[in-house]
């Protein structure tokens, strides 16, 4: 391991209320000192971080990395390179792979690929039910032992409420975290756009806000009943934020995240049928977008994620309703968050907390901070760098982004993962 000193960066770590310009010293993959180097420390490598923001490596709560099932298109090695280019060093991988990550063998495969790539910390999320079918429980304990950080149904709801109850009860027995995307099994099932002005005018099959709020209430009630640790993935409506706030106020240990694109885009962005705007949950109303922003600001929504879904060209080269929903989001997550800071929607502290300290805390991992002794995962960011986001220059195999040609300020200059420079 290369002993490294990062010189004179602005060290910014909400977990430790750290905001100072200082040197940071790294050895054996860990942060060993801030400020003065230990007397026995000899830096082999020095990185000049003057003028740069040094933040903990980002933790992305929802990604898809292509393996297993899409190896002909992309791989964990390739997508984790894209992740670190965006400053993300820890990634939760959704279980809707092919085959589904519902046995420890698949979990082990994902872990092995990630270890071979050695680019970022890959955290598999196991399927709550076998095949995500909502019928039989998967072997959560065995998968947890193999490294599954949490259990989820990805985009598939559990139709049978008794099964969902049992799954939560079982997960609670073993203190396992469940990450659930709130979707009703039927309401808005064939929909492709938010039920509002645009879906009415364009005649797009719609997805009412109630498809989410119905599911939120169901999940919250069952979490309360079973005591399972529940995290709501990618909420998209104002009403869901209210329900979440109310549940938290009553003391329920429920957390939630929002996808970054739902903080920037609304239903109006779907008005010209651009298939890159086709996402799930859909881009909602301006009111919803405002409430989601306020939710992140107040901390009711704990984390912001990319919901990275790299897609092949053919999957988007279709009329809007037939195109596959999803955005390749790893490389735009941080710059789009910094855009919210520039717009004064969030403070820098709120923005960074939502992608470092909070996701680390809710996953229970020793990452997402610049604490001495913790793994040296960090991003060095030039916050003044003006650039045009360009989908043709992404490292991800998926160039499906609606942010092409967006003017952005702030770019990752280099990223360290466990003390190694994995991007520059």
């Amino acid at each position: 391991m290369i002993a490294t000193t990062i010189k004179q960066g602005r060290l910014f770590d909400p977990a430790n209320q750290l905001d100072m310009i200082a040197d940071m010293h790294i050895n054996h993959g860990r942060i060993i000192a801030i400020g003065e180097a230990p007397s026995d420390f000899n830096a082999v490598k020095t990185i000049d971080a003057t003028g740069l923001l040094v933040i903990p490596g980002l933790i992305d709560l929802s990604t898809r990395l292509g393996e297993p099932g899409m190896e002909h298109f992309t791989t964990i090695a390739r997508e984790t390179k894209a992740a670190v280019a965006g400053g993300i060093t820890s990634l939760c991988v959704m279980p809707d792979t092919d085959p589904v990550n519902d046995t420890f063998a698949v979990t082990e495969l994902i872990q092995r690929r990630a270890r071979q790539a050695e680019t970022a910390y890959v955290l598999p999320v196991g399927a709550l039910t076998k095949g995500l079918k909502g019928e039989a429980l998967s072997e959560m304990v065995a998968m947890h032992r193999e490294g599954c950080i949490a259990f989820s149904q990805a985009n598939k709801p559990v139709i049978n409420t008794q099964t969902l109850f049992n799954a939560f009860d079982y997960a609670a027995t073993h203190q396992l975290l469940v990450m659930m995307r709130p979707i009703d099994a039927y309401l808005g099932k064939d929909g492709v756009a938010h039920r509002g002005a645009i879906s009415s005018a364009l005649g797009l099959p719609d997805i009412p806000a109630a498809t989410e709020t119905l599911a939120v209430s169901r999940l919250l009630l069952l979490a309360e009943e079973t005591g399972v640790r529940l995290h709501l993935s990618q909420i998209s409506t104002a009403r869901a934020v209210d329900m979440l706030a109310e549940a938290q106020a009553r003391g329920l240990a429920v957390t939630a995240d929002v996808a970054i694109h739902n903080l920037h885009l609304t239903e109006f962005d779907t008005a010209d049928f651009a298939s890159f705007m086709h996402v799930q949950p859909p881009l909602r109303s301006q009111r919803d977008c405002d409430a989601l922003r306020a939710g992140v600001r107040s901390g009711i929504i704990n984390a912001v994620c990319s919901d990275h879904t790299p897609l092949m060209h053919d999957e988007k080269l279709l009329p809007f309703p037939e195109s596959v929903p999803g955005i390749s989001g790893l490389e735009s997550l941080l710059p789009l968050l910094l855009a919210l800071v520039r717009e004064k929607v969030l403070t820098l502290e709120q923005a960074i907390t939502a992608v470092t300290h909070n996701p680390a805390k809710l996953l229970g991992i020793n990452r997402g901070s610049l604490q001495v002794g913790s793994p040296a995962d960090m991003a060095l960011v030039d916050c003044e760098y003006d650039w045009l986001f360009n989908r043709h220059q992404l490292l991800s195999a998926g160039d499906n982004t609606p942010f092409h040609k967006w003017p952005l300020t702030g770019k990752v200059q280099s990223t360290l993962f466990q003390g190694r420079l994995v991007h520059q």
Binding site: R195, G196, A197, I198, S199, S200, A201, L202, G203, L204, P205, D206, F268, D269, T270, A271, D272, F273, S275, D314, L317, L318, P319, F320, P321, E322
Partner: protein, 329 residues
């Protein structure tokens, strides 16, 4: 009126000089576009004898009718219009050919372009399909939307406006129009609402049970009525829409009988409208479901006029699009 920021931004169906390159939707067009088309249509038909004037102005041009959804009436009137203009016409029912074999939509388009098509008349089951084609065709190829999902059916909207103009005069500003039926799933209704708004119609009423009304009608520039009697009161034009069987299977209506009882256009109900009100229907009619035969075949019905006018209007649209060039002033 439609006033979304997103919708008013670059309109891919117009040349830079504002002339029509494609016709995908009536949204975003100016009243003069509509009036131009309707005026041009006059030149293709004798409004007394209903005779279509054939004018071989598109000789040597190839038009492909590309139907991803089966249709008899619309495809036939397009074909008559195209042939009356002297174009070479190819009908492709893609629902049963290429895409079933796994060929992608774009490959189908590229292959037809390679076969020297000048215009695609496209019908597709998904909203936004026509926009998709217009984005991907070669620059010299025109796209005419013959119906995409629930989104738009612009030539139907135009021929309906032409029909209303024929019977009610050019000034729409005193007219009340009721559109009765499944508005939610209807591309026809969306195009009708747009054209009626562009022609400054006094009032557009959407009459249906809530299960068949769009969520936000005010954003579309129309008023909703759930009561048929109130909706028909004093209107000058009654437009009836076709009720599809699948609305029963998808639990939006209990039965055809109950729909007829609550929203069917009968002679009795028609009396609530103005005495000289006209009755329209885009076809094909479900007699005894949305309308009685006595009304459909009665003195106030102009349903067959719509069909004939449709040929002239489509001739006006096709010739208009294919004769304009981007660089002309």
């Amino acid at each position: 009126m439609f006033g979304y920021p997103g919708l008013s931004t670059p309109n891919i169906q117009l040349h830079e000089n504002g002339k029509l390159k494609h016709l995908l939707t009536l949204e975003g067009l100016k009243p003069h576009h509509i009036r131009d088309i309707l005026d041009r249509a006059d030149a293709f038909i004798n409004s007394e004898t209903r005779q279509i004037y054939k004018q071989p102005i598109l000789k040597g041009k190839t038009i492909v009718n590309l139907f991803f959804e089966t249709s008899t009436r619309t495809r036939t009137t397009f074909e008559i219009a195209e042939k009356s203009l002297g174009a070479d016409v190819i009908n492709l029912n893609v629902a049963t050919s290429a895409t079933k074999k796994g060929e992608s939509l774009l490959d189908t388009i590229y292959n037809l372009e390679a076969m020297q098509a000048d215009m695609f008349v496209v019908r597709h089951a998904e909203s936004g399909a026509a926009h998709f084609f217009a984005r991907h065709v070669a620059p010299h190829v025109h796209v005419l939307n013959a119906g995409d999902g629930r989104h738009a059916h612009p030539t139907q909207g135009l021929l309906d406006a032409y029909t209303i103009r024929h019977f009610k005069g050019k000034d729409f500003s005193q007219l009340r129009v009721a559109i009765v039926g499944d508005i939610l799933h209807s591309r026809v209704a969306r195009s009708q609402i747009q054209v009626l708004n562009l022609l400054e119609t006094e009032e557009i009423r959407l009459v249906a049970p809530k299960t068949l009304l769009p969520h936000d009608a005010s954003a579309m520039g129309a008023h909703c009525f759930t009561n048929i009697e109130a909706g028909l009161k004093d209107v000058d034009v009654v437009i009836t829409l076709r009720m599809q069987n699948e609305r029963m299977s998808s639990a939006r209506l209990p039965s055809e009988q109950e729909y007829f009882e609550t929203y069917g256009i009968t002679e009795e109900r028609l009396k609530l409208a103005m005495p000289d009100a006209i009755v329209m229907h885009p076809g094909p009619i479900n007699r005894g479901v949305e309308i009685t035969s006595r009304v459909a075949d009665g003195p106030q019905s102009v349903i067959l006029d719509q069909v004939t006018f449709g040929i002239a209007v489509r001739m006006a649209v096709i010739s208009g699009i294919m004769q304009t060039q981007g660089d002309q002033p």
